[in-house]
């Protein structure tokens, strides 16, 4: 994989492809750009945080536009990419509201998705030669 030197600008298509890959698999965008250490950290930490959220019985919120806060939480959840799809496919993330750890689980799931969005933005900046 090519290493992005600071100041090296990639084509628009490349940049968006890197962002898409980085969204789908946390850290993959950085790995693509040659930032191996950061990519591996994100690849391990974010799916693990997401898994902890599921273990703590958090809920993967549905897209209910009639409830804007639920829809926003769903948007944040999906930010983690493939782990979200895998969890949904395995019927995980139903959430148990009476569990003592329910709100912690939600926080882990939502923040894992939001952090991955920040990681994607960082990959975008690197691909654009800004970092």
């Amino acid at each position: 994989m090519p290493i992005a030197a600071a100041g090296h600008v990639r084509s628009t298509l490349d940049t968006y492809l890197i962002c898409a890959v980085g969204w789908a698999l946390p850290g993959a965008g950085h790995l693509w750009l040659g930032r191996r250490q950061k990519g591996l950290i994100f690849l391990i930490a974010l799916p693990l945080m997401f898994a902890c959220g599921l273990w703590l019985e958090g809920r993967l919120f549905p897209f209910e536009l009639t409830q804007p806060l639920v829809a926003l939480a769903a948007f944040a959840d999906i930010g983690v990419g493939v782990p979200y799809v895998v969890a949904k496919a395995m019927s995980q993330g139903a959430g148990r509201a009476i569990a003592p750890t329910f709100e912690y689980g939600n926080a882990f799931l939502i923040v894992a998705g939001l952090l991955n969005m920040l990681v994607v933005l960082d990959a975008f900046d690197v691909a654009q030669g800004r970092k």
């Binding site: 250490q37 950290i41 930490a45 703590l56 923040v111 952090l115 920040l118």
Partner: protein
């Protein structure tokens, strides 16, 4: 990890690791920044908990 403190510490750990990797490039700086952030999150959480303790609601 299913205690309040355990969940908070785990949350702080994940957030610190990711932010340290995002905000700093050199491994040494990442470690220092991550430790400071982790300490701030956990210490701040405990401090906020004690400050809120006397509140009746």
């Amino acid at each position: 990890m299913t205690t309040h403190l355990g969940a908070m510490v785990a949350f702080a750990l994940f957030v610190s690791v990711v932010f340290a990797a995002l905000m700093r490039d050199a491994p040494g700086e990442q470690l220092r920044f991550g430790l400071r952030l982790f300490g701030g999150l956990v210490g701040g959480g405990i401090l906020a908990g004690w400050l809120l303790y006397p509140l009746p609601f």
